[in-house]
Structure formats: structure tokens, C-alpha cells
Amino acid sequence: METLHYLALGFGVALQPENLMFALMGCFIGTLIGALPGLGPANGVAILIPLAFTLGLKPETALIMLTAVYAGAMYGGRISSILLNIPGDEPAMMTCLDGYPMARNGKAAEALAISAIASFMGSLIATVGLILLAPLLARFALTFGPAEYFALFVLAFATLGGITGKNPMKTLMAAAIGLIIATVGIDLSTGTQRYTFGVLELYEGVDFIIAIVGLFAVSELLFFIEEKAGKGREMIKVNPLKLKWREILSIFPTSIRGGVLGFIAGVLPGAGASLGSFITYTLEKKIVGQKGYFGEGDPRGVAAPESGNNGASSGALVPMLTLGVPGSGTTAVLLAMLVSLNITPGPLMFTQNAELVWGVIAALLVGNFILLLLNIPLVGVFVKILSVPPMYLLPIVTMVAFVGIYSISHSTFDLDFMIAFGVAGYILRKLEIPLVPVILGLLLGPEMEKNLRHAMQISDGDWSILWSSPLSIGLWLVAIIGLVLPVIVGPILRRRMQAAKEKVG
């Protein structure tokens, strides 16, 4: 009942004209970002954060816009998968498998429509899951003391690479780089400055937003300059849509299974959307078995991964909103946004910032309908934009990033800093060191340190406090499993994903 009350409150916020407008804008930009190969959802959200500050948006409006971008990107990723056989973002990889063959068989419009409907259902199911689970988990979060939080952060780092992550050493290195950067600034527990060298701008530490925009957006530009990829891509023409109700109904069971499974994958830390789409596709193939023609353009092969990755993206919001531990790269970026707005995720946020949290949740529901509408009749617009050469798009993106960062603080120091991060991001990507762990290290490092020191202060220096409650012991066990499992299961899963990829050619 209470949940319904809050949800009504949330709709009150989400349906305000201003918020609705920014949700619509976010959905549109998000779909676009998702559709453009290379610009993933994390990048997209990172670039738009400074824009939200520039426009002087209220916290709830800013967050509504960014979650709409996030949801939109998950929708958009499939467009280039289907038409170009190039996933717009990583989770959309599995959609290539059946989407591209469908398009080649002259059914591009149907593939796009089916994937939009599946995305909608996956997202809808997961949002309902979020509504049911988040308040429960938020209340449960009160039982988290410093020791439990410390174990939770260890768990987040242990599962960071994800089950499919390839090089654990590089992931670890990336996380360490993030942790190192995080030590700059005032040390809350003693009040002393660390590694600031008397530079006032460093006293409050490195601003997440600057680091994120630099690492993602600026490095993207540098990559682009290097590749000189000036031309648009050849793609399959979209045929007029001829979709029967029967065909839509036939993907319903698939989409429901995909949504539920994706949601679960999203809630688990470290798993994320890529795994969500992978396991839903594999499971669907098993369930349908010989009756299907997976890999040759089966509509269910399009519906499964799309419902899976959209489900996972909403699921990943659960740990982020309730515990402050992001379940994916993009939610990490959203978390950075919350922190910059001085809003702490957790049980308190659900009561003290009820309008914000529930506004965002309601906006997710509203955004879903907007996205469905945007993605079926207006899919042609996105297809058009997809053929715009990146040489026109990326400079715009860079301009938004620069103007945005400057408008937050009016400091050229921040711009220089952002460029430095961009160069660093470029080098890291060249070395194939992933960027998301860097961000997570930067975001979670101070929290982890703080909780360890608090635990020590409470116990007067007795280390056994760290594993003195059933909850913390449970978290440690999961963390250990998270570390060990990829070593065993990882190669098998990766081989299968690789095999699937090769099949598409």
C-alpha cells in the first residue's frame, strides 16, 4: 500500500510538463546514443551530466533525463545490431545473431518492431520488479553497519570484472588506478589533506564528473581522430512494416522470460546487461529447442536478448538506489551524478528524497511507453541519423562536454583536468585496460576506506568485527565465489559467446 502511495507521488513528479519534456528528450537522445556504434550508454550518460548542470535542472529532472537516456540507449543498441550487424553497445551483441539475418531476409522493419516490443516488455517487467524489490531492500539496508558495508564493497570489487570479463589482471589494475586517484583530497577520518600539494582545486578530491567525462567522452574523440572514420556506413534498407498480431503474441512468452531473467542478472552486482542478454538468449534457445531456427532470423532470437538487456538495465538500478553499489558501468555514472547532487543512496533516500526516487521510478515507466512509441513509428528517424557520418556528430558531443564541464564550476582548471583524463583514458583503452573499474574504484574507494576505518573505530581496533555478523559472513562468501567463479566458468562462457559471434561472421 505504502509503495502505491509513493508511486502515485512519483507519477505526480514524473508527469510534470517539464519532467515529461526532459524524459522525452532523454529517451530520444538515449536511443540515438545507443544506436551509434561506439557511444555506449555509460558514455552517453557521462556526456549529458554536464548538460544537466548547464541547464540548471532540478535534481529530479536531471536524474529523470539521465535515466531516460540510460533506458533509451538500451533500446537503441539494437538498431545498428539489426541493420549493420554492429552492436551499438555491448549488450546488444546477442541481438545481431538473429536480428541481422532477419533484416537480410527482407524483414528489417519486423525485426526492429519486435525488438522494440521485447525491449518494452523486458523493461516493464524489470521496472515492476524494481518497484517491488527496492523499498524492501532499502529497509533491509538499515542493518548494514560499517563492517557489512566494507564486505559489500569488497564484493563489488570482487565481481567487478563480471563473469565474462577477460583479463582479471587488467581489471584489477584499472580498479587500483581508480583507488589511487580516490585518495587525493581531504581525508574525512582525520581531516588532513592527502596528495593535494597545496593546490586548492584538489582539496575536495577529484571530481567524479570531470573524471568520467574526460575518460569516456574525450578519449572517444581522440579515438575518432585516430581512426579518421569520416564516412557513414552502408546499411540494409528498411522495408515497410507488415507485422501481424499473431507474430507479436508469439514473442510474448519469450519476452516475459527474458525480462525476469534479465532483471535478476541486473540486480546481481557485476553481472549487468551483457550477461542478461547472453543468458536469456541461450536459455530461450534451449527452451524452444529444435522447433526454432535460431541464428537464421528467428523473431524469438531477437526478442530474448532485447528483453534481457532491458530487464537487466532496470535491475541494475536496484543495488545502486538501495545500497549505493552500482551493478554496471552506467549505473556507476548515475551514482556519480547522485553524489554530485549531495544525495546519498540508501534507505534514507527512499524517505527523505521520496519525490526524487519515486519520480525517477515512475519516469522509467512513463519513459518506457515513450520509448515504445518513439521506436516503432519513428524508427526511420533513427535509421537516418545512423547514416550521418560521425565526423559531424562527435564534435558536437565534445562541445557539449566542454561547455557542460565549464558551466558547472567556471574553472579552466577543470577543463585542463578533463583533457588530462581524456588522454589518460585514451592510453588506458589502447592498453585494453577497461575504464569502468577505474570509475568504480574512484567512486567506491573512499567509501570502502571510510567503512573500514569506522569499523576499526567502533571495535577499538579489533579486526574480527569485519566478519562478526551473519550478513557480513554471507557477503564475504559471495565475494569469494565472485572471485573464483570467473576463473572456472569464465573461459567456458567466453568460448560460447565467441562461437556465437563467429557464427554471425
Binding site: A141, P146, N342, G346, T351, H410, I458
Partner: protein
């Protein structure tokens, strides 16, 4: 010192023939207010709300433009004001107890409070000390007695850094109560008051130190028992049930004031204009409404006494910080 600028103002004042043209100084054109934080923080609120009311009261000719200049807990804005804006009499900078705390602890390297002009305060948030509803402590004296026996008996959680204002409030109260060995009192620092309070409500930390505005949500729900408010008198309205530390025999006051400073080297007339403007603003109905809707409590040192108040607060915090070994 009659500069071309001053002449221009005189001319402008004469031309517009305003009622207050007898006054030597009157702002013309754009007035800026620097909020030394990102949008959304307390200083940002101070600038924007005061800017609005100044406009409504016609104390400024046009609008007040808020500029966000985050960094070093106000240090970047302070350095900017000192080094680049000296003599600019159309610039206000939002400040609070956080600013004096950092000045007292030499956290703005090479700068001190004498390098700017302190204009006035327009309200405050008062410190409180609270415990979870199932805590064994029912008043401030019980809590302090436990600490007198063993300074590590009660662990505090607050939203500022170690040595920051939330920490200092505990020490101010403990010192007034006669607790010895202040550096031994455990203080756990969180990112903000909300996070700290969650840990106290969850039973992980014994007591909460923060401001009354942070505590209201959990106070109303009954999860947090406020043992004392660190104000001179009981707070107005619904909050009048909370006993002050003073009436419990512990002479501790901790206002987190909100106010402004201006650059150095401005004319006395200009300074007086802004000091008077803060008085007028504080006494206006419009401002009372803002205070009420934002939980801001009465606090406004008499005209001209604000500077002395700031100096005294800095001195107190400085000696307290020395006592706990935070600074030399």
C-alpha cells in the same frame, strides 16, 4: 577616495532620483553572489534565496546573479575574492560556520579572516545531539556522564570531516560538561548528515551530531531522540519540545550560521550599505517566509557586531582544534 566609479554611482543615483539618494552608496547594475559550492548545496541556497528577496525589497537595482565556484570547501572562492576582487563592492560571497571552521584550522593556506569584510548573517541551523529511540540515554547529562567515566563510551556519527563542524559540536558540548580527554572521544565521519543518521538509527553507532534541519525527518518518525539542541533559547514552532543544552546545565551553543562576506578595500559607505541591506532583509516578511519554509532558525548579530562574532568563533574553534591535536 573618490574614484570615477563612485562618481558614476552618484550620477546614476541623482538621475534616477530614488528616495534613498541621500545615501552615498547605492549598487548599480549587476550584483554578483558567489556560492562556493556546486548548485544545490547550502551556500547555493543562501545566494539564490537572499538574491531573490533583495530583488523583491528593491535593495538591488536589477537581479542578483549567483555564480557557483566550488572547491576546497569554499577555499577557491575565498582565494578568488582575496586576490582578484579587492575593491569590488557589488560582490557578495555566501559563507557559514564551515567557512570559519576552515579559517580557524588554517585550511585556506596563507589566508585569514581579516582579508575580507564580514557583512552579516541571515539565519542559522542549530546543532543537535541525538540517539536512536532504543538508546539507554534519555538526556544530555546521562550521555555526558557516561563519557566522563570513559571518553570512548559513546561513539558519535556526523556529516563533516574529522575536526569539522559536526565533530566540533560534540567537543563544545563535552568540554562544557566537563568531560576530560577530548581527543579520545570517537567521532565517525560520513559524507553527510543523512548517512550518519542512518547508521545511528540502524544501531551501529551510539549518537548523532548534526543540525536540526537534517534530523527532522527521523525525529517526526520517532526513530531519533534528540537529547539537546545547541541554541541559546528553545527553537520556535514544533521544535519547542526539544530542550536546549543550556537548560540541562551544559553551556554549549553551536549555530551553523548562514551569511556573507565581501572583498577587502571597499568604501565604508558601501560596506555600511550592505550591512544595512542584510538588516532590512532579515527583518522583512519575505525573508521570514523563506526562513520558515526552509527550516532556517533565527540568528542575526546586531549591525556591526557580526565581524566580532566571526573573529570570536574563529578563535574558539582554533583553540578547540589545538586541544584535540588537529592543528599545532
Amino acid at each position: 577616495m573618490i574614484s570615477a566609479k563612485t562618481l558614476k554611482w552618484v550620477a546614476a543615483a541623482a538621475l534616477t532620483l530614488t528616495a534613498s539618494s541621500a545615501m552615498a552608496f547605492e549598487p548599480s547594475g549587476k550584483v554578483e553572489c558567489i556560492a562556493p559550492s556546486d548548485p544545490g548545496g547550502g551556500w547555493d541556497f543562501t545566494c539564490r534565496s537572499v538574491g531573490n528577496v533583495l530583488e523583491e525589497l528593491d535593495l538591488v537595482p536589477a537581479s542578483v546573479q549567483t555564480i557557483n565556484m566550488a572547491g576546497a570547501g569554499g577555499g577557491v572562492a575565498f582565494a578568488h575574492t582575496v586576490s582578484k576582487r579587492a575593491g569590488d563592492d557589488q560582490l557578495l560571497v555566501a559563507a557559514s560556520t564551515a567557512t570559519t571552521t576552515r579559517l580557524a584550522q588554517d585550511q585556506f593556506p596563507g589566508m585569514d579572516a581579516d582579508m575580507v569584510n564580514w557583512i552579516g548573517a541571515v539565519g542559522a541551523d542549530y546543532g543537535i545531539i541525538g540517539v536512536a529511540k532504543d538508546s539507554p540515554y534519555h538526556n544530555l547529562n546521562e550521555l555526558m556522564d557516561a563519557m566522563k567515566d570513559d571518553p570512548r563510551a559513546v561513539k558519535f556519527a556526523g556529516g563533516s570531516a574529522n575536526g569539522g563542524w559536526d565533530h566540533l559540536k560534540v567537543l563544545i558540548a563535552a568540554k562544557a560538561a566537563g568531560v576530560e580527554n577530548l581527543p579520545r572521544i570517537p567521532y565517525l565521519s560520513y559524507n553527510n548528515g543523512g548517512e550518519a543518521m542512518t547508521q545511528v538509527i540502524g544501531g551501529h553507532v551510539d549518537a548523532f551530531t548534526g543540525d536540526i534541519s537534517e534530523a527532522q525527518g527521523f525525529m517526526e518518525s520517532g526513530d531519533l531522540r534528540v537529547l539537546a539542541v545547541l541554541s541559546d533559547e528553545r527553537l520556535p514552532g514544533d521544535l519547542s519540545d526539544i530542550p536546549t543544552a543550556k537548560e540541562q546545565g551544559i553551556d554549549a551553543v553551536g549555530p551553523n550560521w548562514r551569511g556573507f562576506y565581501m572583498p577587502a578595500d571597499i568604501d565604508d559607505d558601501a560596506k555600511q550599505y550592505w550591512v544595512d541591506a542584510m538588516d532590512k532583509l532579515y527583518n522583512s516578511d519575505q525573508w521570514k517566509k523563506v526562513m520558515k519554509s526552509n527550516g532556517l532558525m533565527p540568528f542575526h548579530p546586531e549591525s556591526g557586531e557580526f565581524d566580532a562574532f566571526v573573529q570570536q568563533q574563529i578563535e574558539d574553534i582554533h583553540s578547540l582544534s589545538q586541544e584535540i591535536g588537529l592543528i599545532q
